[in-house]
Structure formats: structure tokens, C-alpha cells
Symmetry: C3
Subunit: 386 residues, 3 copies
């Protein structure tokens, strides 16, 4: 007869509990449930993972004109991406330097960011332009009260932000990722759509789901499995990212039989049978295939809540076709269906993880990246790694 162990009374940050997580994947066990539930573990993840390193926040072409902006979220911290009047894209905290209200949300275009509370006004470059009635405040220098700015860098049209002043240069952090994805001409891509979901699960449920095709036959049995069955996928833990790729004829950008766009220019014969997922730790997957790319970020809003942002981009030439909107809808419909399948299973898993009878499991042949991800998170939280 089995026995139950009580929920971790021990310190969840005590390293002794994670020996099996850190073994080679064919010997390893998955993370203990408290890593998906504990507020203390979550707080450690935020500090050691989300407040460090580079995070893909979106496309520069989403904000082509001066004054264009959009918002992003990294572990509950809002980031405002704005193209200044000088044409340069910057990343700010949208919290007003007076009372803290967000001076911008969502996306749009403006000449200035004006706080709705007391009309403190910032330029699109983040400088405080006007703060009414601050005459008596001794030593108040508007130059010191611009929007808090985050480090931002760009690769192939993708904007990355870090909240860590000591983060290595972006190019070093990406490693040979540009080689993997170079063939897709990312520079020529144009952002066309974002859809978001607010899920009742830990962010790692979503990442675990994103890095294996083991669930394709059951969760996506009617959607993806007919096009891209589990067997066609390959997994590689690379130094700077994980690679998950499939080799099979037929695009996955739309469901079987739907009208789709022509291939990205320059792709060779073999490459049009390739489908690449690049997993950027901690929580973003860029997918590139013959005719388009999409990328998904799953950011935590607490131990049991995840905000998912799904984004699409197509070659500029494709987006200029007369029938773009009509055909693109086939792509969006497919994703709306597949995403919901994943969302539901992730929320179901979260319920199961609350059970004290649930125990860490072993990894299948398709879960090499799940195991690598568990080890990565553990090492970051326990402080063993950069």
C-alpha cells in the first residue's frame, strides 16, 4: 500500500530535494510539485530567472513610426516599448514617476505619454517634459524623473529587454541561434497579430508543454497530428537555446487542405520540408516554417497564473498581397484552435499538481527538453548557474 508525503514543510530552496532533477535525462525525475505551487519558489524564480537575462518582447516593425508603442509583461513587470521622435526604439517602465500609474497600456501611437492622474508628461524618448506645480519641491530636477528605462537590444527585427544591468551582450546570449534561423529571413518579417490568454496554471506547465511533441497524438489528435505527427520531431539541447525541429513534407502553418502562402524566398528544397522551433529560455518559443513565423511567450503572474502572448509574422511581401487578410485568417484559426487545446491541458495539469499523491515522474524519449528545462530552472533558483 502506498503512503503519502505531506506538502513540503521543508524549505523548498533546500538543494537536497533536487538531486534526481539534475541527473541525466534518462535517469532524471521531473520537478517536485511545490515548484509549481510554492510562493517562495516562485519568488526565487522571478529574481533568478526573470529579472536576469534577455527576454524577447516583440518586433521592431510592430512600431514603425515615431510615437508608436506597445506593452509587454515580464513576470508581472510591465514594459513599454516605444519608438521615439528620434526614430529609436526604447524600453521603459510605464509607471509614472509621480504616483506610479501606468502612463500607457496596450498599443497605439501618441506624441507624448501623459499620466491620467496629474498630467505628468513624458516624451516618447522617456524624458519628463512637464510636471505641473512642482515649484516648491527642493532640488527637483525633471532630468532625474524620466521613465525608468530598461536595456534593450535587437536581433533580426526582434526586440529583447533585460532588467539586469550585468547581463551579457545580447549577441553572446543568443549564441548560434542566428545560424539556425537565418534561412527564414527574419529581418524581412512583419508582425501582424497578437492574441493573449490568462491561464490558471504555473508558467512551467506551459513551457513543459511547448518543448515536446509527446502530447501531439492525444491533445492535438485532430489538428496537428495528421500534418506533423509525434514521430517527425527531433530535440537538441544546444548551448544557448533548445532546438526542436521536424522534417516532413507539408507546412504546419495552416491545417491540412487550407489555402496558404508561398514559401519564404530562398528556401531550398530540403528546407521547405523543415519546421523549426527555437526555445529561448526561460519562456519563449520562436517557430519558423516555410511560409511564416510565430512566437509564444508564457510569463507568470504568480505561482498559479500565466499570461500567454501568441504572435505572428509573415514576409513583408506576403503581407502586401491583396488576399493577405483572407488567407492569414486560415493561419490564425488554426492557432486559435491548437492554443486552446494546449491551454486546457495545462490548466488540468495544475489541478493534478496540487495532489499530495502526485509524485515526480520519469521522462519519455520525447521529453529531453522538458528534463533540460527542469534542470535549468532548478540551477537558476538554487544559484548554481549564471
Amino acid at each position: 500500500m502506498d503512503t503519502l508525503t505531506p506538502p513540503a514543510n521543508a524549505d523548498p530552496l533546500d538543494p537536497g530535494q533536487y538531486r534526481d532533477v539534475l541527473r541525466p535525462v534518462d535517469e532524471a525525475s521531473s520537478l517536485p510539485s511545490h515548484c509549481y505551487l510554492s510562493p517562495d519558489w516562485y519568488a526565487a524564480e522571478v529574481e533568478s530567472i526573470f529579472m536576469r537575462g534577455w527576454h524577447l518582447v516583440g518586433r521592431a516593425d510592430r512600431i514603425p513610426d515615431p510615437g508608436d508603442y506597445f506593452s509587454f509583461e515580464i513576470a508581472e513587470e510591465r514594459v513599454l516599448l516605444a519608438r521615439g521622435a528620434d526614430g529609436i526604439v526604447r524600453a521603459f517602465s510605464p509607471a509614472c514617476r509621480h504616483r506610479g500609474l501606468l502612463v500607457a497600456q496596450g498599443q497605439g501611437n501618441c506624441r507624448r505619454f501623459v499620466c491620467p492622474y496629474h498630467r505628468w508628461t513624458y516624451s516618447t524618448e522617456g524624458a519628463l517634459l512637464a510636471a505641473p506645480s512642482m515649484d516648491q519641491a527642493k532640488g527637483f530636477d525633471p532630468a532625474g524623473y524620466g521613465l525608468v528605462e530598461f536595456r534593450l537590444d535587437e536581433w533580426a527585427g526582434f526586440l529583447f529587454v533585460t532588467m539586469d544591468p550585468a547581463a551579457e551582450p545580447l549577441a553572446d546570449a543568443l549564441g548560434d541561434l542566428p545560424d539556425l534561423l537565418g534561412r527564414y529571413r527574419l529581418d524581412e518579417m512583419v508582425f501582424t497579430r497578437q492574441k493573449t490568454y490568462d491561464l490558471a496554471c504555473n508558467w512551467k506547465c506551459y513551457v513543459d508543454n511547448s518543448v515536446e511533441a509527446y502530447h501531439v497524438p492525444s491533445v492535438h489528435g485532430k489538428s496537428l497530428q495528421p500534418v506533423a505527427p509525434m514521430q517527425v520531431w527531433h530535440y537538441e539541447v544546444r548551448e544557448h537555446y533548445y532546438s526542436l525541429y521536424g522534417l516532413f513534407p507539408g507546412t504546419m502553418g495552416v491545417l491540412k487542405g487550407e489555402r496558404c502562402f508561398p514559401p519564404i524566398e530562398g528556401l531550398g528544397e530540403k528546407e521547405v520540408e523543415r519546421h523549426d522551433l527555437a526555445i529561448l529560455l526561460p519562456n519563449t518559443v520562436i517557430t519558423a516554417t516555410v511560409d511564416s513565423i510565430w512566437w509564444v511567450t508564457a510569463t507568470p503572474r504568480g505561482p498559479g497564473r500565466t499570461f500567454v502572448m501568441v504572435n505572428h509574422a509573415f514576409p513583408r511581401k506576403t503581407t502586401e498581397r491583396a488576399d493577405f487578410a483572407e488567407i492569414a485568417q486560415n493561419y490564425y484559426d488554426r492557432f486559435d484552435m491548437v492554443n486552446v487545446e494546449d491551454n486546457e491541458i495545462c490548466e488540468l495539469q495544475q489541478v493534478g499538481l496540487t495532489q499530495r499523491a502526485r509524485r515526480p515522474g520519469r521522462y519519455s524519449d520525447h521529453e529531453e527538453l522538458v528534463g533540460a528545462f527542469a534542470a535549468y530552472v532548478t540551477e537558476r533558483v538554487l544559484g548554481r548557474s549564471g
Copy 2:
């Protein structure tokens, strides 16, 4: 003028605060409010009360055929009751041994339990039958990855589960309960209906309510009081359970004037004027009267939330009548009304318990069992008792 004491800054598990709770009931005070509110006290209850001892989970006749199953909940922990292909009933955790998803919920019949995530497949006896693509996992032996099984035992058709491997045998735990309820021929009863409620109160509010008739005139003034007024009830703290019984002519199974079923066979003249409640600690009340039985379990889902399961059973002979469904509805209607009256008052009490001006009270002549229950909980939590 009165003064207020702040909410317990002291450790709620410090025994000094409970001296008055443990006095003889005619001198005792009720539990301090923090026992209904504090997460720490709640966690101690789960360990010392719910993860120990035997818990009535339902009727074996609810799952008569191989592959039949239903779910139960003990302090947030799900229990899956299933009759195996071998005809034997077992209790499992429904958490999949791979990623933890619940492989079954609610009730139904199946040949196998298949996890919706990756199709790990278990027999109705709990064995892992299939786990796709586990070839690389070193030393992975499916025999060690069946559903986690809980100890199960049966008395008079009632299934009991314990999560404590050291629990005494069920027969010892029940004591002379079979003598009390023997006359109702429980073995011949058939489960017919379950109704559940999710309440915004502590589980002990519900138990406190269930073990006294002191509230009948006010809370059930138009429903129960005309049939079974407060005065007819008697209370007995027995070694293994509490007994609450009424001696009065007329059944309580339906409201006055409604059509009802004939008495259980074999009941003597005196016995048809008897109405028995057996309170099985910590949180189940079996009620038996002339024509049927019902039982209610109030299990916690946190300090301020309770999941209530109300169940009915009738003699098999009764259930086979042509007019069973029609007349049984009279019984169900009565309970749906009475239960809601209790549910509302329990949720109102929870609000009052948050008030720091609220103080422990004294017990009336009808609250002997409330006092005994408070002492039982306190002794378990403080570790003074088995």
C-alpha cells in the same frame, strides 16, 4: 466598556489557549475564531485529522460493475473509487504518474483510465498498462508506476478510505456503530443520488451545525420543526462516534403530508418512531430513519471553503418500485430545501467569525456534541490524541 483583543499574534498551535475548550461541556467555551480562519491551524487539521483515520467515501453499490468508478475528496485530495475487472473495489489517487493530471473525474464506467495528456493508460485495478515511448528511461519499470493506492475497507456496503498506513483496522475504528445502525439493514441499501455544494465557510461550521438540533426552530422553522422539533432529540458522545437520535412518530424522510415509501423491512414498532444520526468523526453524518438513509460529508478546501456532498440510499426493494423516481423526488426536494437553509447559516457564521469582537461562547443543553467535537479537533491538532 469592552475591549477588543487583536487577532492571534501568538502561535495558534500554542496549547495554552485551549484550556476552556477542553473542559467538561457544561463549563467549556467554544473554539477561538482563529481555528476557523488560520491557514496554520488548517494545515495542522489536514495532517492530524484528514490524513489519518478512516473516511467514509461512498457506497460499493454505486459502482456495481467492473469499470465503474466515482470520485471523492478528502481535504483537497482526490480519491478515485473503481471496481476492477476482477470485481474488487479499490481506491486510488487519480493523479497520473507521468505529469500528474487527473486520469478520471466525476463518475462513469471505462475499460481503462487513459491520461488525456500523453495517453498513459492504467487498468481499472490501477496497473500501468501503457506508457508510450519510455524506452530510454533507465530502469523504468511500469510495475512501479501504477496509480497510487489508498487503503480501503468496507462495512455494510459503505466504503472507507484512509491515507494513514498506520490506521487501526476499520472494524476497530467503527466500534459498536454496526449495533446502532444494524436495524436499518444497510447492506440492502442502494445509492441513488448525490448533490454537492461549495460553501464559503470553514468545514467545522458545517459540522457544528450538523450535530445539534438547537437551530431547528429558527433555521428550519417551516421545514423540519413541524415534524421533528428540537425537543425530541437526544445526544450521546460514544467511544467511536457520536449518536444523535430522535424519538417521535412520523418519518422525517419527506416533509409533512408528502407521499413516502413503506418502512424498512423488519423494523419494530418502536423503531419506526426512531430517527438516528451517527456522526463519524471528523466530518460525516449518516442519518437512518424508517424508510431510507442519507449521509453528508463536509470536506475542507481551505480554511474558509467547504465542499459538501449529500447522498441518498433506499432499500433495494424500494428502488425497484415502478413509482420510485416519482416519490423519491419528494425526498430530494425536502433535502434540497433543508440543506440550503443550513448552507446559508454556515456562510453567515463565517463572516461573524472574522470579527475580532467575536469571542468563544458557552454551550446550550443541545450542544454537547458541538463541545465534544471542538475538544476532539483541538486534541488532534495539538497532538494529544491518536
Copy 3:
């Protein structure tokens, strides 16, 4: 490039963090965000601020007749104001002395307070009149089981309650407030309406908003600004309260152009151009102008939730006019509009305060009282002041 500081890992009650808060307002910084978010800081506020001092709870004329009662809330603690059969107003906790249920909520008139659970019955003076079946309870003396009573005092028809037996007399606590507001003949006012809101913000967001006109041009641009623009307002930190007053022609009781009531009798020519806000710490603002008064209390229901009660009173003579209800509606409509404007901005601020990039700000020329309030809260919580 800016850097982010993590959320307070340090003890929020460590005084070293508040030096800038306590500087003169022209040098001071506003409160750190954790003062609006931390459960520990909130708990300290409840003890040091809400469980001490006098709190305005309403008008005596709201309960003119014996048996009249209404409810109030002070930091989650309910207060029942009742006029006894003896004509005297008292303040009680509505928690029944038996099981703790609230014996009265909202407002009404009754001969006795009867607990809905077991019919424990209290007089309107708070005495326990009946407790059924308490015969066995040894030494149970109903005289010791009246409703818990709070200290209550009255000034100019306003009822005040304290939960602190050591609180100074009300008259001492009010200081020269009666001089400031005497001209409005508060004794002759009659309560006419209460409207409440449950907001997703810290109570201090609401108070911060209530004590400055800096936000009038932006938040109330179309409502208040045309009548009472930011420039007409003056701020005074007085020993026992804060004074915020405007000198300008035209009442603010209704929106421009609406029908209004004649001035309060006896107001001089200058006084009809005066608009007085008296801020009673910690969380009540009494506003008096030419034709009426209104007062608002923002009481916390946790760190991120605030219950706001908005009340109106008019001179008795006004309320006796045949057209009172019709014209009074103009006043209520104006408030319903303006309150919602403030409510929305307070909830927006709460979102911004969760951002770790948000930093304490400096005070404008219109925020002297915001700064004084921040210092008051800090001193109370840190225990430096009475």
C-alpha cells in the same frame, strides 16, 4: 541605464526605509510601494491606526427613533449603531455572543436583535434578553453576555466610535474642528443618503486622492474643474485635522447650472464663497459648503481592497421642502459621477504600485496634505506617535 530593486525582502517595519517620508514636505518622498501592498504593513496599520483613536461612523439623526439602527465598518470590524428603547445611541459589535453570527446588518428598526441561528435575543441596549436552553451551562450569567460595546461619543450630531479604551476624550481629539465648521450649523443637519463602493485599491490611494486638488484638472476636467478649479484651493496641516478649503463664488454642491437649495441660514457673505474640507485622520473627509454637507470614509478590507461610504446631509429645513427629493437628486447625481472618476483613478494607481520599477516620488505644491498623511501613517505604524 536604470536598475530595478526587488520587492522589499527587508522587514517593512524597519524604520530606516522611511527617512525621506518624514522630511519636510518640500524635501520629502512619498511612501514606498510596499506600504500599499504588504500584508504585514497593513496589519500594523490596523493595530496602530484603526484600532485606536476616534472614527466618525455617521449621524445620530439617521436613527431618530428607539430601535433604529445602522451598520458601519472600521477596518473589517463591523459596528452596529443602535438607539435603545431608552433613547440613547450605543455602538456594538453585531457578533452574537453564542456562535458569532451578525445579529444585524444594513439599517432598519427592530424591537430586539435576534440572532438568526439560535434565537439568542438582545435588547436594543445590547443586553442579552433570551438564550434558549442554557440551563446546564455552569455559571452562565446572561448579564455577562450582552453585545460587546464600543465607546461612543457625539459632536454636532456626528457619532464617533473608538475601539481603544485608552483613547483621549473625543473633544480633545477634535481640537478646534468645531470652530472651523461651526458656521455650517451641523447640529441642524439631517442625514439623507449613503452610497457605497468596494474598490480594488489600498485605502491610502483613496485618502491620497481626497486631500489634494492637484488631480482636479485631469480627473474631474468636465465635472469639478469648471466650478472649482485647482487654483482656488488652500491646504493647512492643523494640529487635530487637516483643512482644505476653496474660496470662490458658486456652490459645488451641484454641477454648474443645476437647480440647488438656498444657503444654510446665517452664513455671511464671505462664507457663501467658501468650501471647507475637514480631513479627520485617518480616513474621513467632511465637506461643508453653502447649502449642504457630505462626508466620505474609506475603510480598508485588506491591503488591496477599500470600502468607501459616501454620505449626505442637508439642513432640516431644506429636507422639509416639497421639492427636496427632486432637487436633492441633482446633488446625488453630481457625486455619483465625481466619485466614479476618483474610484477609477485609485484602482489604476494600485496596478502601478505593484511595479518594482515604481519608486517613491516628490510632492507638488498641491500635495502638502498627501505628504503630511504619509508621515502620519508612518509614525503611527512605526510607533513614534500617540
